[in-house]
């Protein structure tokens, strides 16, 4: 008879599969996980505290560093919150540039997830392909705003710069290229037997559990909940585009994979319509007071980031900086279900489940 005893295993904070500085204390019995305790906070920079001494425009670069894989959506959420409470209007062309930038960011973010997730599962080559396409997007965004990762592109009331000449055409050319590559991804991964065996039925939860744990994004939609803020509470100009929300059924890692890959396709659809509809000329920054003061009161807005529902709360006392700023960070909420998912699982599935949640630690820790 083999004698087994429980063992404490420390995963992270410096571990490639945690995608950042995330620590997981796992109690294992043989190969089976009995208990998993996430330890977070290694990347806490106190953005909310810092913002209390900053003017509204100065907060925007800090949001870049929260979810650094899709900084455009973070830029947008703070601008949207201030625009809502002050009551500013955004010019048409700026709205389109914002949507194009955000959807490009969404694709780039999902590509990083796709590449690194398969790297976690042992497939090296998809990572190289995904980063090649991501590089094309980053180059586009670099041309738009001069930065590759921390864009600081959006401003309250519009965007910082108009797109350079011919940029819209470059986006137009990118769409069919990306579609072609996406077909390739499906060709060599989506039907792969080894991959399917590792994700099907793994990390499964029900619709009720997903709602109960406040999950959002693909983590929620993989269970069959049709919940995308772009559809249920359209912000910006998303009500002008015709697109679907990919919804899974099974609620396992395989459904989450399909949802995210579907979202890339839908983002391409939005991009296609946006580059056709965008006005040729026009202002990109609305009429904004030089010093922005939000009126006394509070506002909460939420938008759909690649990782789920990102919200921004501002309590204002009619000053140049917010009295209290709070970001509802999707990765922070999505991670809560992890201990429950890992309990009783095989040790080898730990990476599959953690990677499937798609966390960015800058966002978890705030």
């Amino acid at each position: 008879m083999i004698r087994t005893e429980e063992m404490l295993l420390n995963v992270g904070p410096q571990h490639p599969s945690t995608h950042g500085v995330f620590r997981l204390v796992v109690k294992v019995e043989g190969e089976i996980i009995r208990e998993a305790t996430p330890v977070i906070g290694y990347l806490h920079r106190g953005t909310e505290k810092l913002a209390e001494d900053l003017q509204y425009t100065q907060i925007i670069p800090y949001t870049d560093r929260m979810d650094y894989l899709s900084a455009m959506t973070n830029n947008y959420v703070i601008c949207h919150a201030v625009e809502t409470i002050v009551g500013l209007e955004v010019p048409e062309r700026a709205e389109y540039l914002r949507v194009i930038a955000m959807e490009l960011g969404r694709i780039a973010s999902h590509l990083v997830w796709y590449g690194t997730y398969l790297l976690d599962l042992g497939a090296t080559s998809p990572f190289l392909y995904a980063f090649r396409e991501r590089e094309a997007i980053i180059n586009l965004l670099n041309e738009l705003c001069g930065a590759r990762l921390t864009f600081n592109y959006m401003r309250i009331g519009g965007v910082k710069w108009d797109a350079p000449e011919g940029w819209i055409d470059k986006v137009r050319e990118f769409i069919p290229y990306m579609r072609e590559q996406l077909d390739g991804y499906h060709g060599f991964i989506s039907g792969n037997e080894i991959f399917l065996n590792r994700v099907k039925g793994i990390g499964q939860y029900t619709q009720e559990e997903a709602i109960q744990y406040s999950l959002s994004g693909a983590n929620l939609r993989c269970t069959g909940v049709d919940y995308d803020i772009r559809k249920v509470e359209p912000y910006s100009i998303y009500d002008r585009f015709d697109f679907d929300v990919p919804v899974g059924e099974t609620g396992d890692a395989w459904a989450r994979y399909k949802c995210r890959m579907g979202e890339i396709e839908e983002s391409l659809k939005i991009l296609e319509q946006a580059v056709e509809q965008i006005p040729e000329e026009g202002k990109v920054l609305g009429k904004v007071p030089r010093i922005i003061k939000a009126p006394k009161g509070e506002v909460y807005v939420r938008i759909e980031s690649p990782r789920g529902e990102i919200g921004c709360y501002i309590a204002s006392d009619n000053k140049k900086s917010p009295y209290r700023l709070k970001f509802r960070r999707p990765s922070f909420y999505n991670l809560q279900i992890l201990p429950k998912l890992l309990e009783g699982e095989n040790m080898a599935n730990l990476v599959t489940i953690l990677g499937g949640v798609d966390i960015v630690l800058g966002e978890v820790d705030g």
């Binding site: 977070i40 906070g41 809502t84 709602i211 109960q212 009126p295 509070e298």
Partner: protein, 251 residues
């Protein structure tokens, strides 16, 4: 905002015209009229100077000069006053019946005193906002989720705010079935900030409540695992409180 913007230039033009007339009478110069008709207030001041300069040259009416200058500081005050008046003119919110419905359901189930205040938040896309009393906070939250006509089954956001006189919890709820949102708030005593935990109702409130404890020092009754989630266990003080003294002042 659009109404206001339209009104501003008009009133400025009127002011301007009256001033132009004043200076015209003083200087008796009809030629300056077309020059002194810009629409924006910025361009207006130099043109006024021009006309007053001319008044210097032609007539010796120096005593009349300060008049337009005295008027100038008054102008920025006018739009401010309008801004304050504006919310009153908005009329009833389209979400008012929805809020009334929520309030009715809560009051019939939990009594008249359960709700401290209920209003529409005009700044936040007409969001119905309910302020619960600390005693009824948990009961209202439970009712909001379980009642057949409400069904707020999704907790979207939960956080605390330090208002110096008191603490406040802000909870944003959404109903996946009814497609409605509501904000639930509760005021907490600042000296002894203790409030019921919502984790038994929504599992998703677990970490956000820990975060509120960590950064604001709010205690939660019946919370399964209240801990310093972002900062270290040995951290002193609660950083998001307004009277928090930073460890390193220069940072």
């Amino acid at each position: 905002m659009t109404d206001e913007n339209q009104n501003q230039p008009q009133s400025n033009e009127e002011n301007e015209k009256s001033k132009v007339e004043e200076t015209k009478n003083q200087a008796d110069e009809s030629q300056k009229e077309p020059k002194a008709e810009p629409t924006t207030p910025k361009e207006e001041s130099p043109s006024n100077k021009e006309s007053t300069k001319n008044a210097k040259e032609d007539t010796s009416a120096k005593t009349d000069k300060p008049k337009p200058k005295k008027d100038r500081p008054k102008r920025p005050r006018k739009p401010r006053a309008k801004k304050e008046e504006k919310p009153e003119d908005l009329g009833p919110s389209p979400n008012q019946p929805i809020l009334d419905h929520y309030v009715n359901v809560i009051k019939t189930n939990l009594g008249e005193e359960a709700i401290e205040e209920a209003s529409i938040n005009r700044n936040s896309k007409d969001l119905p906002t309910i302020v619960a009393t600390p005693k009824s906070y948990f009961q209202i939250a439970k009712l909001l989720r379980d009642h057949e006509e409400l069904q707020f089954n999704y907790l979207s956001d939960l956080h605390g705010i330090d208002y110096e006189t008191h603490m406040e919890m802000y909870v944003y709820l959404y109903s996946m079935t009814k497609k409605y949102s509501v904000a639930l708030k509760v005021k907490v005593d600042r000296e002894h900030p203790v409030v019921d935990s919502l984790t038994p109702i929504w599992q998703g409130a677990n970490w956000p409540e820990s975060e509120a404890y960590d950064l604001l020092g709010i205690q939660f009754n019946n919370h399964p695992d209240l801990k310093r989630i972002l900062l270290g266990e040995d951290w002193e003080g609660y950083p998001l409180r307004k009277d928090y003294e930073p460890y390193d002042v220069e940072v």
